[in-house]
């Protein structure tokens, strides 16, 4: 082994990476070479001094570093805060979402059409004239009757509930409504109608 090879092994030794057989080779060279013994001693001291000196005389990071970093973070979007709340309250969120979806779909329904809609189980006897729905005298409608966007005139009998949405209700003296007769012509009422209706529908299914 020459001195150059020995020098390379010395560094491996300082890296704690020198295999045993090579360590023995280095040792036998050091036994006969004083220059290399000196060099290894110096390298070892340099190594130790480096560990100590590199860490010495370093000022500490300023105390407000954390605050400064946190204040520079890009602002989180509000939506993200909202989403975190959602993740934390899944049950409440589900209920809220249900209501929201219903309210929005109801609103859009309420705004969307002004077309006459007549709903009921027994529509054969109902007479429709333009935007007016007539329950003629002497007829009896089985079940509920719902009229949207139209005027309603009742001369006969309705055996269930009568609901008029966005329209007028005229009940003649001969009219007989077994259930509730309701007129709904505001968005909010409409929404409540939809909600209670949906809930009872859900309940019955």
């Amino acid at each position: 082994m020459d001195c150059k090879q020995a020098a390379s092994l010395m560094h491996e030794y300082l890296d704690h990476d020198l295999p045993e057989d090579q360590a023995l080779g280095l040792k036998s060279h050091l036994d006969i070479c004083e220059a290399c013994r000196m060099k290894l001693k110096e390298l070892e001291q340099t190594d130790m001094l480096l560990f100590a000196a590199v860490k010495s005389s370093i000022p500490s990071a300023p105390d407000d570093v954390l605050e400064r970093i946190m204040s520079k973070l890009p602002k989180q979007r509000k939506q993200q805060a909202w989403l975190r709340w959602v993740r934390r309250h899944p049950a409440l969120t589900a209920a809220a979402m249900f209501l929201l979806v219903m309210i929005f779909s109801s609103l859009s329904l309420w705004q969307a059409d002004d077309q006459l809609i007549v709903k009921g189980a027994d529509l054969d006897q109902v007479r429709i004239e333009g935007h007016t729905v007539i329950v003629p005298e002497g007829t009896a409608i089985a079940g509920d009757l719902t009229i949207e966007n139209g005027n309603t005139e009742v001369y006969g009998e309705v055996k269930g509930n009568l609901t008029v949405i966005d329209g007028s209700l005229y009940q003649a003296s001969t009219a007989k409504i077994a259930g509730d007769a309701k007129t709904i012509d505001q968005a909010l009422d409409w929404i409540w109608y939809r909600i209670t209706n949906t809930f009872s529908e859900v309940a019955y299914r």
Binding site: D17, K55, L73, Q80
Partner: protein, 190 residues
Amino acid sequence: MAEHMDTRLVKLARKGNQGAFAELVELYKDKIFHLAYRMLSNRHEAEDIVQEAFLRVYKNWDRYDENQKFSTWIYRIATNLCIDRLRKRKPTYSLDAELNDQDGTDGYTLVPGDERTPETAYLLSETQTTIHQAIDGLPAKYKSVMVLRYLQELSLQEIADILKMPVTTVKTRVHRGREFLRKRLEHKLF
């Protein structure tokens, strides 16, 4: 243990938990500051590096590889920022910084309970200054390796991971750096 903690904090911080992010800053701010200070020999620039490194972490979570240690990633970001700064400096800047930025580099620190005489303390202080100046004068590629090795006491493999280079390259640089320092100290100490 520390790694386990890092992993948990990183997971939370990635999801946008600012508390977990603040914990990570607390855990690493000094390490990054020391690294940057030793690389740049300038306190104000080191502060900038700490801020910039953490902001990059915050903005680039999507680029973080979970199989990698968080320390490796943040050291890489910080080291690269320092190397960029060193490259942008005018050749004389390093000397200017050394002459003007005296805070922290002057004097010596005695370990509490250390019973060295003033003369040996002075010698040590002089040795430290020699070492600090020698490291400061190293080219950036050697400087980063030496600082990671001797300041952070990282293994050669970790340094290789941080700098994305083969471990043999890291080795060669440590060996040369050590040899360079030995020669600088030769006449003063040995």
